[in-house]
Amino acid sequence: MVVLLWLSLYFKKLLYNMIPPLLGFYSKLFVINALSYQNIYIAILAVIASVISCVKYLYLIQITSFSLPSLYYNNKPSSNKDADKNINISSNVISIITILISLSFIKPVYLLSNITYLLL
């Protein structure tokens, strides 16, 4: 029962947030925050520009997630072992970086307080 309650609260938070705050958001937030003390007009300009560029990124996410597969893909199953050898290393890189980026969504305070230690 407690677990269900926790899950419902968690998903409510997810829906409420819509787009989760990832590492890229915090990096932009720091820059815009610093800029707001120096030149508020440029800070506003940076926010507007980030919204404009966001449209294209969202379009990319939309076509990868909700469109029909393109003709580019060759859907025949691979039996070539060479492909797996090369892709194994790349998949490790992808999973590590993706986990690092999405860690900020799970526990942002912990990550941001230790970010200097993690990255430097």
Partner: protein, 436 residues
């Protein structure tokens, strides 16, 4: 003495790994054009031996990682041995420089590891030369060494860019890059000459003290400003900050994905680190003369042009190039605010996210390539030229090529979406308010 022994040991292990393990033949496909039949037989026997040894590829990967660790270890050893030359040496190593170089080396190591087994050795040599140039450029404490390392860094990039220029467009783009980059380097030389004329030295610390003396007495202040503007002009050109960005989208579009991956991340991070080093060395002069205002102009222009031009892009590499231009703008604005922490944070997050996107795109095209290779006839897949042509045809060119990725591989699609969300750096107003 201990340091010397450790470095010698490191060198011996490096040479052993280089010549015994890595130079061992690994190419499994490709054409063998040797007319001598004995040589062919020997080669086939060797290949069979390698195929039978399942641990060979793992060993090769571990050896590459070991080399990277050795470079980092050696750099950390050097930091102790450079205490003598800290006063007026050609090189100066501080903790922050060491940390940044380590990060660049790790990211570049990952990119090198992402290269497939069939990548040519000359490309790896050029990449390593580029890394050497970057390392010396960041460590240097004298303008002569800086210019020499800058040229080494640039020359290796010209070679890398024009290595496999097959089409007319790619040749034109690489030539354009070479000419414009060489032209911009002359501005750097002009700036350094001006500084030498004003101070009589090429050493960073002596230049700073002499320039401060000149500024306090109000002598030649205009020429000091001009010298620094010329130097930063070259560096901003290399970063492809707007309005000096025209070469970047054309060049990235014409290059191979692996080379673009290198070109879009490592040189940019290294030039940004070099700018940070210059700001650290000449901070008093730059703040006194309000020269950081240059970053405000270039930064805001990059943000506007990058974001607006991004909207109209339908080619994958052009889109990433314009995305890079807008992100460079944010980093320049962080420099203008003198907020070094957020600058380094932004730089590393941008590097990691772009690396992730490129790796995902590479994996998609590789899966597709190997699936398609099965349908090719034997003659085409065994001919190197035809196979290379086929490989290039199989690269993702348009954004629409990755439509419906979630049906091909859900994991890749989710990772791609997370990277893009991170690159966009936006979220809805309510959650932003909460996190603030």
């Amino acid at each position: 003495m201990k340091i010397l022994i450790a470095q010698l040991l490191g060198l011996i292990i490096y040479l052993f790994l280089k010549f015994v393990v890595i130079s061992y033949p690994t190419r499994e496909g490709g054409s063998i054009k040797n007319t001598n039949k004995n040589k062919e037989d020997k080669r086939i026997k060797k290949l069979e031996l390698i195929k039978s040894n399942k641990n060979f590829l793992t060993l090769k990967r571990v050896s590459k990682l070991l080399i990277l660790l050795l470079i980092i270890f050696n750099l950390q050893l050097i930091s102790y041995s450079f205490e003598i030359s800290k006063k007026d040496g050609l090189l100066k190593l501080t903790d922050s420089k060491l940390i940044l170089i380590n990060k660049i080396l790790i990211i570049s190591g990952v990119i090198i590891n992402n290269q497939d087994n069939q990548s040519k050795t000359e490309k790896l040599i050029i990449i390593k030369t580029n890394l050497l140039g970057i390392t010396i450029m960041i460590l240097s404490n004298d303008w002569i060494l800086t210019i020499v390392s800058w040229e080494l860094f640039n020359m290796s990039l010209y070679l890398l860019v024009s290595l496999r220029s097959e089409s007319e467009a790619s040749l034109a783009a690489s030539l354009k890059y070479f000419v414009l980059s060489a032209l911009s380097t002359t501005f750097l030389l002009m700036g350094v000459c001006k500084l030498y004329k004003l101070t009589g030295s090429t050493h960073y610390e002596i230049i700073e003290t002499n320039l401060l003396h000149l500024i306090n007495n109000d002598i030649n202040v205009f020429y000091i400003d001009m010298a620094f503007i010329l130097i930063f002009f070259t560096l901003l050109f290399k970063l492809s900050a707007a309005p000096l960005h025209q070469w970047a989208p054309d060049l990235y579009e014409s290059l191979e994905t692996k080379v673009t991956n290198w070109k879009i991340i490592v040189p940019k991070l290294s030039v940004l680190t070099f700018i940070l080093v210059l700001i650290d060395n000449f901070s008093l002069i730059l703040i006194n003369q309000k020269l950081l205002f240059l970053f405000l102009i270039f930064g805001s222009l990059s943000i506007i042009i990058g974001s607006i031009a991004l909207y109209n892009q339908w080619l994958k590499k052009r889109l990433l190039a314009y995305s890079g231009i807008s992100h460079i703008g944010y980093m320049l604005l962080a420099l203008y605010c003198k907020d070094i922490h957020s600058f380094i944070f932004y730089m590393l997050i941008y590097g990691l996210t772009t690396l992730n996107i490129f790796t995902i795109l590479k994996v998609i095209s590789e899966i597709n390539l190997y699936n398609s290779k099965l349908t090719l006839n034997h003659e085409v897949s065994n001919n190197t030229y035809s196979f290379h042509f086929f490989k290039k045809m199989n690269e993702i060119k348009y954004i629409q090529d990755i439509a419906g990725l979630i049906k091909l591989n859900p994991f890749l699609s989710i990772a791609f979406s997370i990277s893009l969300f991170s690159l966009a750096g936006n979220k809805n107003g309510m959650s932003a308010k909460n996190s603030m």
